[in-house]
């Protein structure tokens, strides 16, 4: 790991959205000012994150110690390639989502928009906190804050359905994090006597017996249930009761990716590749993740509610990422890190589209999408691009990451993993292309007159993300070399 630079930038990147809550709440009476502040915060965050990029490129590491809260385990930020990558994705997409969210909330005249944007900002700072956290304790703290701060967002509608969704959401997330992660955390603390820092070769490497490593790994991998590994996945479809911007950012990007990110951290930084190799634990995760990939894709096929189908597809894609990392091969890790970004852009586009369709003419079900392309050409085009990306077909970003993932399987010569990828890609195609086909080539039952796109903000947002998805195919940009650096550091 490169030389360390002390800087408070990570802290500010984390705080800026937290501070933004104040003006957001104070201007609750005048929506325009309020939303202006959200934008300011979003851009400021993005700017700060971007300003750290060059340092990372030079292979440096940015550190910022906040508070020695437990001996040896302070609240500390450390920005390395991996965290940088994730932070970049999150902060970029926050801008777009804010744009989209404004359009969506106003388009639907949702209630309690102030609360919505305030907790949105809070969730974002928690996300960056996770991205930049330097040790397991900090990670855990921000992880919990994220779970709790997203509860009001998930249950935004405050009706019976929302309550049910919220219950499953918290039951799974809190249950797993308190029940599994906390004891594992303490156990690590004892084992390493008081040093929870992520180190490239694993904080615990060489300290564990096979059984301990096995138990710890399972506790941690399932404990970070935001990663959506089966059988702890069902909070994700449940949480789809949330307004679409929430589903989009939190359940395509922030929350779920936080879960995956945590698991990657555990694999690379806590348990350490060496340990996993030594006791051949990688394959265990490979099988769990592979199972999740296939099953979730199959379930997705059977869903008619668009958002639910997207949710299950998300579960599958998350499992891709975990699988890629658990191959314990350089290319695999590169691929899975890149997939964090690629899938984020692709999936958020899809969610935006789903939301836009709902805003425009209240359609939720795939069976209603016949001939939709004539009404909303932009939306459906974007949808097609997003679908391509998720299935992994050029010219969409998803292809690149999936390429690396498959390459990784070859490298680790785990051919069952290869099968998982290929089969599930086929399944993805199966559950996306019918929609596109129906939208573009089928006759609508009730031919609408002319184009009826949804709120301009929404359209703008989804066009941006779609074009990004295309762009990333031709030029993966920082995501590629960040991922590459990380896998070089680890292996």
């Amino acid at each position: 790991m490169g030389e360390v630079v002390e800087s408070s930038k990570p802290l500010w990147a984390c705080l800026v959205s937290l501070l933004a809550i104040v003006p957001i709440v104070r201007n609750r009476r005048s929506p325009n000012v309020r939303d202006f502040w959200s934008f300011v915060a979003a851009f400021a965050k993005f700017g700060i994150v971007l300003s750290m990029l060059p340092l990372i490129r030079d292979g440096k590491v940015i550190e910022c110690t906040l508070w020695e809260i437990l001996p040896g385990a302070p609240i500390q930020f450390r920005v390395d390639a991996m965290g940088m990558l994730f932070a970049l994705v999150a902060s970029t997409l926050w801008i777009v989502t804010t744009l989209y969210g404004i359009g969506y909330m106003r388009g639907l005249k949702e209630h309690a928009q102030t609360r919505f944007f305030a907790f949105f900002a809070l969730a974002l700072s928690a996300t960056l906190g996770v991205a930049f956290s330097a040790n397991l304790l900090t990670l855990y703290v921000f992880y919990e804050i994220l779970s709790l701060s997203t509860f009001p967002l998930v249950t935004h509608h405050q009706d019976k359905e929302a309550r049910r969704g919220g219950r499953t959401y918290l039951a799974y997330l809190l249950g797993t994090s308190v029940g599994f992660v906390l004891p594992a955390l303490v156990y690590c603390y004892i084992k390493t006597d008081g040093n929870l820092d992520f180190s490239p070769d694993g904080a615990l490497s060489g300290l564990l017996s096979g059984k301990e490593a096995m138990v710890l790994m399972l506790l941690l991998v399932f404990g970070f249930a935001k990663g959506g590994l089966m059988p702890f996945h069902s909070w994700l479809p449940g949480a789809m009761v949330a307004p679409t911007p929430v589903s989009a950012l939190l359940h395509a990007v922030a929350v779920v990716k936080v879960g995956v990110f945590c698991i990657l951290r555990v694999i690379t930084g806590v348990l350490g590749v060496e340990t996993l190799r030594a006791f051949d634990l990688g394959t265990v995760i490979v099988w769990i993740a592979g199972f999740t990939v296939i099953v979730s894709s199959l379930i997705a096929l059977s869903q008619d509610n668009l958002k639910r189908r997207l949710a299950f597809s998300t579960i599958g894609q998350l499992a891709y990422i975990i699988l890629g990392a658990s191959l314990l091969a350089p290319k695999g890790l590169t691929g899975s890190l890149m997939h964090i970004a690629m899938h984020a852009f692709g999936k958020i586009t899809l969610f935006f589209c789903a939301g836009a369709i709902f805003v425009a003419n209240g359609r939720k079900y795939i069976s209603q999408c016949k001939g939709l392309a004539r009404e909303m050409p932009f939306t459906m085009t974007a949808f097609a691009i997003g679908a391509l990306s998720v299935v992994g077909i050029p010219p969409a970003g998803g292809f690149v990451s999936k390429l690396y993932l498959v390459w990784g399987t070859m490298e680790a010569d785990m051919y069952q993993a290869t099968c998982f990828y290929l089969v599930s890609s086929f399944l993805n195609a199966c559950y996306f292309f019918p929609i596109i086909f129906a939208a573009f080539f089928q006759k609508p039952e009730n031919p609408a007159n002319g184009i009826r796109e949804s709120h301009p903000c929404c359209v703008a947002a989804l066009c941006i993300t779609a074009s990004f998805t295309l762009l990333l195919f031709f030029h993966p940009g920082p995501f590629y070399w960040l991922a590459n650096m990380m896998s070089q550091v680890v292996f």
Partner: protein, 508 residues
């Protein structure tokens, strides 16, 4: 240097109690200022003691200047843990007194001076318990606290107050008598009453094997377990604390059980010595299992309650299980966790009880169902309540998380996995309990739905908060929760300063 800081801490309570009673006879409205003043002085004194202990390690005071031979007179001896206890007691008293000043005229009309007098005497007794190094003097102090708390509980005009107080009297007396009996057994075998002296004699004549000492320990333990409402002996607690006037409950609930736990810890570490407790006694394991039982039982009972305060009382029982179990894990981290949890649990209980009192004050009922829409109606109170709840659940960075952290660490190190599991289960149960409340407070009643509140949040329920005298202590406590959490490593380190020297038998 002024060397009467201990007296400065404890005496104001008693003098002020007299003064307040006098005020009651002549000028009742002066009683509050007098009480506040004296609590303030005590707080100052306790902080001075803390500072002294930080520099010198411990503070000793020989009453009547009878220092030689050891134990001839009564000795005060304050080590790091007890100095922290002193500060805790003073702070909690101050906050609950401020709260009481706003509520009392409505709850106990015409009895204000008596309430303040008993309040101060109770506080003084608690301080004395934490200071004294004399086993019998501790009994006297214990009785002072018991009598005053009986009276404070029985003062309520509620229909059930007196009856619950009666059971409280019976149980409390049994507990105290068992303690006294234990002291008698110690005395008949060692011939001394001074804690350090007893410890010395037990080591010197190696009495660890003698049945008398064992039975003495059992008696003292049982007495304290009754006082702290350890599960099978906890029948009196929910009624007593629920039906007591809220001004009383806010003060008694956070402190009484915790102080009894502290006495148990102190008996273990300074009188009997850890290697007697954990090596010579065969049943340390049993106590841990009992603690697990207490935790589970408390959580289950809490699930069944529909009254907020009653639910909190059941949770107290569970938390007592935490502390007893932690203390009996027989390693330093468990003990640290137990002692640390004394402080964090006192803070959480105070926070939640204050909030519950405010809800009761506003709604006139303690039913959980009556909290609908309170996130909008009284945001500040709910925010503080939420913090307290998170601390109970164990969400970082509140103090509840860290006490769980230490306790779990102790449990894992001594291989008590059952205890760890019970701990995690109970925090999950807490999560269920409190999110049930949040749902009621957040969703409101779902029948009429949310659609009346379209657009932005202008036409909402207008905010209707409690008066500042009630709100300020609540907010302060909530802040304290986070503060204890942030400074946990300092506090734990300070606690360990009085635990580490005990590592004689190599028990830890």
């Amino acid at each position: 240097m002024f060397d009467h800081t201990l007296m400065l801490t404890i005496l104001p309570c008693f003098f002020a109690a007299l003064a307040v009673t006098a005020c009651g006879l002549w000028k009742p409205r002066w009683s509050l200022p007098v009480a506040l003043l004296s609590v303030g002085i005590s707080l100052f004194g306790s902080l001075a003691v803390l500072a002294e202990v930080m520099t010198q390690g411990r503070v000793q005071y020989f009453l009547g200047n009878w220092s030689e031979p050891r134990g001839i007179g009564i000795e005060f001896n304050v080590d790091p843990i007890s100095s922290l206890m002193l500060v805790l007691i003073c702070v909690v008293s101050l906050l609950s007194l401020i709260y009481a000043s706003g509520k009392i005229t409505e709850e106990l009309p015409g009895k204000e001076p008596l309430f303040y007098a008993l309040f101060l005497l109770l506080m003084g007794g608690l301080l004395g318990i934490c200071m004294t190094a004399d086993a019998f003097n501790l009994y006297v102090m214990l009785e002072i606290t018991s009598l005053t708390s009986y009276a404070l509980v029985a003062m309520g005009n509620g229909r059930r107050a007196a009856f619950s107080a009666y059971n409280y009297v019976i149980m409390g007396t049994i507990g105290a008598s068992f303690y006294l009996l234990g002291v008698g057994y110690l005395y008949i075998r060692t011939g001394s009453l001074n804690m350090a002296d007893i410890f010395r004699i037990i080591q010197l004549e190696s009495l660890q094997g003698s049945p008398t000492i064992t039975v003495a320990f059992i008696m003292i333990l049982i007495g304290m377990l009754v006082k702290m409402a350890f599960f099978p002996l906890s029948g009196w607690l929910p009624n007593a604390y629920t039906h007591a006037p809220s001004v009383t409950g806010n003060f008694v609930a956070p402190l009484m059980t915790k102080v009894s736990v502290y006495v148990m810890v102190r008996m273990i570490i300074t009188v009997f010595g850890i290697e007697f407790t954990f090596d010579h006694l065969p049943w340390g394991q049993t106590v841990v299992w009992l603690a697990i039982l207490a935790i589970v039982a408390g959580s289950i009972m809490a699930l069944g309650q529909s009254d907020l305060k009653r639910m909190l009382c059941c949770l107290i029982i569970a938390e007592v299980g935490y502390m007893v179990g932690g203390a009996w894990l027989a390693n330093i981290h468990g003990m640290t966790g137990a002692v640390f949890h004394i402080f964090s649990d006192a803070a959480m209980t105070l926070c939640l009880f204050l909030a519950a009192g405010i809800f009761h004050h506003k709604n006139g009922t303690g039913e959980i169902g009556s909290l609908e829409g309170h996130f909008r109606k009284m945001p500040i109170t709910m925010a503080a309540f939420t913090l307290g709840a998170f601390s109970m659940i164990g969400v970082p960075p509140t103090c509840g998380f860290f006490s769980k952290f230490y306790l779990i660490r102790g449990g894992l190190e001594s291989g008590q996995y059952g205890y760890v599991v019970a701990l995690l289960l109970s925090s999950l149960v807490n999560a269920i309990l409190f999110f049930r409340i949040f749902e009621t407070a957040y969703f409101g009643n779902l029948s009429e739905g949310h659609h009346d509140a379209h657009g932005n949040d202008d036409h909402e329920v207008e905010i209707d908060e409690a008066p500042p005298t009630m709100l300020a202590p609540l907010v302060a406590t909530a802040a304290g929760l986070v503060a204890i959490g942030l400074f946990n490593s300092e506090i734990a380190g300070f606690i360990q300063r009085s635990l580490t020297p005990l590592a004689v038998g190599g028990t830890w």
